[in-house]
Amino acid sequence: MKADHQDTGHFQKDTLLLLPSLLPLLLIFLYPLIQGILLTLHKNGEAGFTFYNYIQFFTVRDFSNTIFRTLVLVIPSSILEMTLAFAMAYHLRKPIRGKGLLNGLIMFPLTLGPLIVAVGMIDFFKPNGWFNLFLMHLGILHQPAQLLYNFWGTFISLTILGVGFIFSNLVGLMDSIDPSFEQAARSLGANGFQTFIRVFYPLIRSGVWNIFSLNVIMQLAVYSSAIIVGNPASSTRVFSVVAFEQAMQYFNYNMAETIAVIMAAVQFICLGVVHYIRKKGYVGSASTFK
């Protein structure tokens, strides 16, 4: 970029090259988004501006409970995912034979997507599936654990997908840390734990929180696993389930969109909290040069 000495004439012409990608997005993304927000301010089928939908959302239990149900599902699973993925990525940082294969397998669910993972779960976690057979054979369980069509079904599905997502991002993040920082800390007398707490973690913490919040964004929108391996009538009746129901069964796009907007608001509040935590500490690059 520094090599360019652009005169303003070219500069303006070049910016026009943005239009082919920008215009379609304005039409199929921004315009509908604005329309959608306007939708929430009308009652289904009526013209006048009203906060009816929002009042409905917060007064009708079935609607307002979705906030709680979604967060109870997503926040604990995200924390668990981060813990598991961090442990795996940190351990797989050393050069180990077959590391590429292990990495690929851990990220594999991400490729498959929630739908296939849900079907795989039905086969694997069903009462007489391999998982329960194995644990009963070991004597850990005496009767099959009910891990499908309830809260835990969706929780497991989110965890499997989330670990894949967080892991794939953490691998790149941890690779970017120059090992000489840790060597320097060790040479100055820090043991493994001190090196981790005082040097390694501070260097990646900002990135870790970023990945965490991206994962929360993705998981707040959980839908297909809540339907297929969850219990969409009660414990996994999350934002998306109710929104889809409003749109596709009652054709009430106004209410459905209201739920989507509130979901976005909850998401931004979560992001705000994460960002607040993240800001208290070193934010910046951890490479030695540049």
Partner: protein, 286 residues
Amino acid sequence: MHAGSRTVRTHRYKWRQILWNFLKALPFWLLIGGFILIILGMTVTVFLSAFSTHWFGTVLPAGFTFSWFTKAWSEYDIWLYFKLSLETTFIATAISLVLSVPGAYVFARRDFPLKSFLLGFYQLPFMLPELAYALPVAAIFYKLGLAETFTGLIIVQLLVGIPFSMVILIPFIEALDPRLEIAAQSLGADRLRMFSRIVVPQLIPGITASAINIFIRMFGAFVVILLISGPKMQTLNVMVFSVLSATGSQPQPMLDSLTLSLMLPLLLFTFLSMWVSRRLQRRVGK
């Protein structure tokens, strides 16, 4: 004597060190092993179940048969949805790339006012819940008559395709050496020829890799398509979802055969993407 005592000390140290390292690593390996076993277990059971005659409470199915698989394909017209998915995804990938390359070039090479703001705009679809814009898109499409049409499917794929292409193409172009472009211009190439003869050819490896990733991403696109697709204009995964969410009336091997039909192309594309990126790395000399 002296040397002997030293060796003993070393051995004891090494033995303790090895034991300690093993104990330290054990929980990690159990975790990684357990996670991978669950993933492999899930994948393998889908395969086994799709081709099983009966499988109930035993370690392995009672017998194997192709009949569920062929039955699933004929009863659900899988080929129809499969073709539709491939066609729309392929066309939408191509359109996304063609529309995004010029913009990505501008982002990688030029500075202009509101640059970071615009970059943020391209990433906004990933930061917002898909439902927030998919619902009004569906409402508008139904009003315009675009819903439940081939064109409509392609257009909504661009919602994922364009932002995703931009995000992966910009770093690719930033990595190209700008001096080649300046050299081309100093040799008398005008801007169009500079772009088509210098920039695009260098980008082809990057575009190929991105195209496969965009393709995989779109093949898995779900929310918008579910909202605007009719019974006959569905992609494969929306169709599979409808069958799965409807009732538990279908026998499990049937559902597994459907899922397998969805999984095989994804596996194929993933291997393709890995193969291409490995070849690319070799070409770059990494």
